[in-house]
Symmetry: C2
Subunit: 247 residues, 2 copies
């Protein structure tokens, strides 16, 4: 049975409809003294110091192309125009200190969850990726190196593994650029297969924000831009994460 | 740089275009004495006896809903109207005895690959799924139970993990129904989040086969059909896997 709008099923046969929530909290009201709402979101999500393990750091499995492009973007972060997003084991860690919209609280008692794109811990076997974000342009670049556990056709990344990293990059970018929290739709046109172990560069852009929706685009291609792997678009719904109340 | 048609990059900066291959091998010419081309494909891919480990069998992590629906479909296989697809560690195992189209042979020397949807081996932590196929109707049902390593929002499956299992179910169905081998496009509209550990039932249908393309649809929902998780469509390109020549 279809219902109007995007919904969240908090349990089988028990659901709460986002469209029924008193319409959404004032948007982008978290501007800090130092800058824009995006700056404020970035400063809260891209922690410079934390004890949490950041998986978006170079390791021995990264190929020379991935390493050199990582260094290039790291240089750009020094001026503050780009930021490197940290990547923790779980979104629970990313949203520390915030509470989720109430409709998401039901099944959160488990602590052994891992964000899907960090599900494989052995270096180089699964997802290797790092995302850089440019707040002023509302765009991101994701460097993605699929390992052999991400296979579809022998020797090449599964289309679903590319779909997932596109969704993840969209998701983090949509949140920082405008509190986009839920994927409403995802469209991907596949052009070439990505050989396992090689680098795909995902250029992600927020195209527009309208009616509490963020419209995203992505081109995934080789570093030299001679091989397009996929083109994608996605739509995300804005939902504000609330600050936890002090108790 | 964009090029026409779907391409396969066999290495960075080195690619061979599917559209340049002398156009494709005669389709569906593998009818066995006993039945249709689909029957022949099914008998070669859904081996009844094999030494390979089949991951699409019940284990202690399967919930009661998944187990009972599995038993229901297993009953239906007894009449031969439905078949249970085996699920091996890698597509290399699925295509044993066949050789890949030549443009896919380059990076296949690694033997440690795993199909993405079987990337997590610990029972119940990642993907638990089984696909049943109904050859006469060109449709499939996938029972999918996401584990805690497939998280997006805390407690719920990542949109990308659903995208990947839809792509995988499309892919196997498209091959058995009409030798669909490459995903050309994938469109997903997300309606509800799937709680980790619960069951999603994916109903997949080949809508039409035209111009060497298979047009697929999918509805993912709760078993009682009261909660739609996502609706999806996909297009797959036909490419015949060749029989290995004897040497």
């Amino acid at each position: 049975m279809m219902r109007r709008g995007f919904q969240v099923a908090a349990g089988l046969g028990h659901q709460r409809t986002l469209s029924k929530i008193p319409h959404l909290l004032p948007r982008l009201n978290m501007a800090s003294a130092s800058g824009s709402p995006t700056d404020s979101l970035v400063s809260r999500f891209c922690l410079e110091k934390t004890d949490l393990k950041d998986y978006a750091l170079p390791n021995g499995s990264w190929g020379p192309e991935m390493l050199s492009l990582y260094q290039e973007f790291l240089e750009k972060t020094k001026s503050g125009s780009w930021v490197k997003m940290p990547s923790f084991k779980s979104n629970r860690e990313h949203i520390q200190g915030l509470k989720l919209p109430f409709e998401l609280g039901v099944t959160s008692d488990k602590s052994d969850g891992r964000i899907f794109t960090r599900c494989i811990q052995a270096e180089g076997q699964g997802y290797e990726y790092v995302i850089f974000f440019q707040p002023s342009k509302k765009k991101s670049v994701c460097l993605f190196q699929p390992g052999p556990y991400l296979e579809g056709p022998p020797g090449f990344a599964h289309g679903g593994s590319l779909a997932a990293i596109i969704d993840e990059t969209f998701s983090k970018t949509a949140y920082l650029a405008g509190e986009g929290l839920f994927t409403l739709s995802l469209n991907i046109r596949f052009k070439n297969l990505i050989p396992v172990g090689s680098l795909a560069v995902l250029d992600v852009q927020v195209e527009k924000i309208e009616d509490q929706k963020l419209y995203m685009s992505c081109v995934a291609q080789s570093r030299d831009q001679q091989t397009v792997y996929a083109k994608s678009s996605g739509v995300f719904l804005q939902r504000q994460l609330e600050e936890a109340s002090l108790q």
